[in-house]
């Protein structure tokens, strides 16, 4: 096993552990936004599409990279946009209180 793979394995292990701990703290109220946010994060593979397009010199592979980048961009942009839209809807009860709160 070469150094890079070993290094990657350490990073993977630590990130996975961190992920489980952090995800466990997310309240169920936010599970849908969590899913769509992590979904957008998984679009980070777009980086691979970019480096692929930077390395190839034939049209077929270029097209492959093009589709990969377009897919990845849709995942990233759409995922973050929809997460933001959802999170903007989560509101506290207004501090001044609704009529009912004030009366009671």
């Amino acid at each position: 096993m070469n150094d890079a793979v070993l290094m990657g394995a350490y990073v993977f292990l630590l990130a996975l552990f961190l992920g489980v701990v952090l995800i466990g703290r997310v309240p169920s109220t936010l599970h849908t936004p969590l899913m769509s946010a992590t979904n957008a994060i998984s679009g980070i593979v777009i980086l691979g599409g970019m480096t692929l397009m930077g390395q190839v010199d034939n049209a077929v592979l270029m097209a492959l990279g093009f589709i990969a980048v377009a897919f990845g961009a849709a995942n990233v942009v759409g995922g973050f946009a929809v997460t933001d839209r959802m999170l903007a809807m989560f509101k506290r009860r207004p501090d001044t209180g609704t009529g009912g709160e004030a009366e009671s």
Binding site: N2, G19, H31, A37, I41, G43, G49, A74, D84, E103
Partner: protein
């Protein structure tokens, strides 16, 4: 020297980006900081993408890369702005698929582009292709089922598991062959076959899974897209991908396990159990309760009096609420009751919606304050001290048989203990048994009043009646 400096710049950007992504998940642990967290993730992602432009050769292809980003990103943005909150599971399924597709295409592209591939990298390329491709097509099937483009019922045929096993075996053999042959001319065609078969197995794996199990499937596919990212990270020796992919993988596995727990099923049973067998058992139990059991029907006026003079009310929303587009109506009722000083809370079962946390988003959209939404474990002990429970469009999640009747198909599933409340009001279209066809004794409980009709109309009637009390 210049080359080293450039690589160092990219690496530092990736490091900061990974940090921001981790921080963003941390911020998602509270509704008050969550939006900020999403913003941090966007910045982290933007930074990683920006840095990658400085990767060797990438700037030469900048025109095509930016064009691809504009097309893909534009489509994603428009979809994200237009989608209805009830359609969120479909949307997440599609985005999952795109992420998986990206991972698969990058893996295939890397393989075809390289003259020589190291041992470790070859394995991650093959696995990345398999996981990414099956995530793509599996997600598309999940989307089609949720959107109603194909039947939500499990699609089963003879020897299905056998075919799946055979396809998987061929994929493994191809993978081993590619590894054994090393680099050569024939490898490349084998790789394409492996890619195509991986696309096929994604379809055949999800087809037999029923629509009701889609929340778990989406969470699993989410995990798979994360794993695809990790594998691509190994292939490209890119730590940012490994960190981001691990976070996604952890989240997907966590959520799918949570959903499976809430449905009292094992993940293996959901994925390989062909839910098709279950309805038979469900029909049996419905038949057992076929004798005319007493049902107490009520009117909006009577129910409104009961609600208005209660001290505490718990609303149990089910997906039927969203189907009837009645989220705003239920919030108006809660407002009217709160204006009278009634303590109103919502009890949310983990599988109340079509994906984890879905019902919370649907209610948030109707301006229900998130402090009023209680998860099952936090509110289950309070039912016995509650005057009225209002069940709207929910059925199995309040079925006492889950804890009382060992013969019931849902026995053992954690449910909301609505039957412990002093009074229960159920809004329901008719006495038809629900999707699973399981008899619900709660509807025949002497403490239960049934208010029949469309949920939205019933709620509007209740609002008007409460205001007249």
């Amino acid at each position: 020297m210049f080359e080293d400096g450039r690589q160092a710049f990219i690496d530092i950007c990736y490091l900061v980006s990974a940090f921001l992504l981790i921080l963003s998940i941390r911020q998602l642990s509270s509704p008050s900081t969550a939006r900020n967290g999403n913003l941090l993730a966007m910045i982290g992602m933007g930074l990683a993408i920006f840095a990658t432009f400085f990767f060797e050769g990438v700037l030469d292809a900048i025109v095509w890369i930016v064009l691809a980003m504009i097309i893909g990103g534009g489509a994603g943005y428009v979809a994200a702005k237009r989608v209805q909150m009830t359609q969120m599971p479909q949307m997440v399924a599609v985005f999952n698929g795109l992420g998986g597709g990206t991972a698969a295409l990058v893996s295939v592209g890397e393989f075809l582009n390289r003259d020589s591939v190291g041992g470790g990298e070859e394995v991650s390329i093959l696995l990345g292709t398999l996981i990414g491709a099956l995530t793509l097509t599996g997600s598309l099937v999940a989307f089609a089922k949720l959107q109603g483009l194909i039947s939500g019922r499990p699609i089963v045929y003879a020897n299905q598991q056998l075919y799946n096993a055979a396809i998987f075996a061929i994929i493994v053999v191809l993978g081993v062959a590619i590894l054994a042959l090393g680099e050569g001319t024939t490898d490349k065609s084998l790789m394409i076959v492996l890619f195509l078969l991986s696309l096929v197995i994604g379809v055949t794996l999800v087809l037999p899974i029923g629509g009701a199990d889609m929340p778990v499937v989406i969470a699993l596919l989410n995990a798979a897209s994360g794993v695809g990212g990790v594998l691509t990270g190994f292939t490209l020796d890119n730590q940012a991908l490994i960190v981001a992919g691990s976070l996604v993988g952890a989240s997907g596995v966590f959520l799918s396990a949570l959903m499976a727990l809430a449905m009292n099923r094992s993940l293996t049973n959901i994925v390989f159990g062909a839910f098709g067998q279950l309805p038979a058992g469900g029909a049996g139990s419905a038949e057992a309760g076929g004798e005319a059991l007493p049902v107490k029907a009520t009117t909006a006026e009577d129910a409104a009096v009961m609600l208005a003079y209660a001290n505490s009310v718990i609303i149990v929303p089910g997906y039927g609420l969203a189907v009837a587009q009645a989220q705003h109506a239920v919030r108006e009722l809660a407002d009217a009751l709160q204006a009278r000083g009634v303590n109103v809370r919502y009890a949310i079962h983990p599988v109340a919606g079509r994906m984890p946390g879905h019902m919370n988003v649907l209610l948030a959209e109707a301006n229900v304050p998130y402090e009023d939404l209680y998860e099952m474990d936090r509110i289950n002990d309070d039912f016995r001290n509650t005057d009225v429970v209002l069940v709207v469009g929910a059925n199995d999640v309040v079925n006492p048989a889950a804890s009382q009747d060992p013969g019931s198909p849902i026995y053992g599933m954690p449910v909301l203990r609505a039957n412990e409340a002093r009074n229960i009001v159920v809004l329901k279209r008719s006495m038809d048994p629900g999707f699973a066809g399981i008899e619900n004794m709660l509807f025949h409980d002497p403490k239960t009043s049934m208010l029949f009709g469309d949920a939205k109309k019933s709620l509007n009637d209740l609002v008007a009646a409460v205001k007249n009390v």
